[in-house]
């Protein structure tokens, strides 16, 4: 009989966050599976990105954030990352005045970074190593952003809307890269594209008004048209 691993890799309890005095996340609690993809879903503006940023310590927050059993909510962002958290921000945030190679070199924390994996997943980046990241297309910039997270051996990846604004063909490339990454590291994925969520996620957490309103199977949620429409506004 196969043992089912249930210990959470990332857990959030009573997480609240504010930006410029405005509450954007309110008492959010959830646990993330130690394998595969957990999708963090919700309508626009419900606090998905803010939740990721709060976990990362990029905005003011209160509550508990635990990674692999260790409380990290009092630690600065760089220490949280050094504990093995890879972060792919919304809108890529590549360093446009640095080359592709410099963007990747900057992200390398490990003594033996996964350059071979990056080359296999994104061969285009190898060819464009000397090109300024600011001159890349949106899809290529997203690859740089993902590659920066995948170049290290992480315990967990937080990925924020990786397919936003990308052409359909590129969306599938990004989804395949995430699928491959999720074979070795659990991923917390914020994503609006439900086709990608269906393809990748085992678990779904839905936020509404900064709070968790669904925490369960992604398949059950997305196969229930009425529930999907009610919680996400789309079917």
């Amino acid at each position: 009989m196969t043992e089912i691993v249930t210990e959470s890799i990332l857990s959030v309890a009573g997480l609240s966050a504010s930006i410029a005095g405005q509450q954007v996340v309110e008492d959010v609690s959830f646990e993330m599976l130690p394998v595969g993809v957990t999708a963090l879903l919700g309508r626009n503006g419900v606090g998905k990105t803010s939740t990721l940023r709060a976990i990362m310590g990029l905005i003011e927050r209160s509550g508990e954030v635990t990674i692999a059993g260790q409380r990290v909510d009092r630690e600065p962002t760089h220490r949280i990352v050094q504990r093995g958290v890879g972060y792919v921000p919304e809108d890529r945030e590549v360093f446009s005045s640095l080359t592709v190679a410099e963007n990747l070199r900057l992200a390398e924390r490990d003594s033996s970074p996964n350059r071979q994996l990056i080359h296999e997943l994104f061969p285009d980046l190898t060819d464009r190593a000397g090109q300024l990241a600011g001159t890349l297309s949106g899809g290529q910039q997203q690859m740089v952003s993902l590659a920066r997270a995948l170049v290290n051996d992480n315990r967990v990846l937080l990925v924020d809307e990786p397919t936003k604004g990308l052409a359909p063909l590129i969306v599938m490339d990004v989804a395949k890269a995430l699928e491959r990454a999720a074979q070795t590291v659990p991923v917390l994925l914020v994503e609006q594209n439900l086709q990608v969520v269906r393809m990748l996620a085992e678990k779904a957490i839905v936020l509404e008004g900064g709070r968790v309103v669904y925490d369960g199977s992604a398949e059950e949620l997305l196969s229930n048209e009425a529930l999907t429409k009610e919680l996400l506004g789309v079917a």
Binding site: L58, T77, E93, L98
Partner: protein
């Protein structure tokens, strides 16, 4: 023609001093968003340290000059790094408090320097060659101008090489663009802050020793008087842009020299007018990036 050459090279020499101060200001603002009004104090302290060394040795020898330049840099770097570590680090993203602390430090340090070295200007001695002139296309150019220009070029090349070829340089370049994303890659950007302050302080300390030779004296007000123009240069060049600071240093200093000579001592007025025009036409400065 000889007057033009003289004004041009003298302007370049003064521009070199402006650049040595402005380069640090620009890097510090670019990475940390800190307007450091205490930067002139690093320059003054570097100048006094250089003078203290020179008066204990043979002030007219090249060895003493080089040693005083190195000491000025070291003192500037140390004091700047200590300022960042002890005062500024606690005040990131608190801009009003930063201004209050750095202005207060600038005022207090001038008072401290006056208490230690007195209020009068102290004249410096230098190798004989520096007080001589070299004829270029009929113009007799004071040799110290070449020292200023050479030092500024070396500092510019050194900073560019540091930024381009070292990991700290990579972190600084990335941090200037997006500081929070640098931390989100697991990098403690505060270390880069200290390094940038140290580099800026070293350049200011070097500028202090050179300024004492350019003007022929060192005084507690030396840094403050250069800081005003260095700020103007930094704004005209574009806050955070090293290349912009280099270009603006030359433009401001040469304009100042020509206006002083041809338009009856209106150099400072012309610089302020240039600042106003740049702010109206291109508010981000020559090479500054839009917010």
């Amino acid at each position: 023609m000889s007057t033009i050459i003289l004004l041009l090279i003298t302007g370049l020499g003064l521009g070199a001093l402006y650049f040595l101060v402005a380069s640090g200001l620009s890097l510090i603002y670019g990475l940390m968003g800190v307007l450091n009004f205490a930067h002139g104090s690093f320059l003054t302290l570097g100048a006094f340290a250089g003078w203290e060394l020179a008066r204990r040795m043979d002030g007219s020898s090249w060895g003493t000059l080089i040693a005083s330049l190195v000491l000025g840099m070291a003192v500037g770097a140390f004091v700047a790094a200590a300022t960042e570590f002890l005062l500024i680090r606690r005040l990131y993203n608190r801009h009003i408090e930063q201004v209050l602390v750095t202005v207060g430090l600038a005022l207090a340090s001038v008072a401290l320097f006056e208490g230690i070295w007195g209020t009068d200007a102290i004249y410096v001695t230098a190798p004989e060659w520096l007080s001589q002139t070299t004829e270029i296309l009929g113009a007799r150019v004071p040799n110290d101008r070449f020292l200023m220009i050479g030092a500024a070029v070396l500092v510019l090349l050194g900073i560019v090489a540091f930024l381009r070829y070292t990991r700290f340089g990579l972190i600084i370049r990335a941090g200037v663009e997006n500081r929070s994303m640098v931390t989100a890659l697991g990098i403690d950007v505060r270390k880069a802050f200290t390094v940038v302050f140290a580099i800026g302080g070293a350049a200011a300390g070097l500028g202090g020793v050179l300024a004492s030779h350019y003007f022929g004296y060192v005084s507690p007000q030396l840094g403050g008087s250069l800081l005003i123009f260095a700020f103007i240069v930094t704004v005209i060049g574009g806050l955070g842009s090293l290349a912009g600071a280099a270009i603006a240093s030359v433009v401001v200093a040469v304009l100042q020299q020509f206006a002083n000579y041809f338009w009856g001592g209106t150099g400072d007025l012309m610089v302020v007018l240039l600042l106003a025009v740049v702010l109206l036409v291109r508010p981000t400065g020559i090479l500054g990036k839009k917010a």
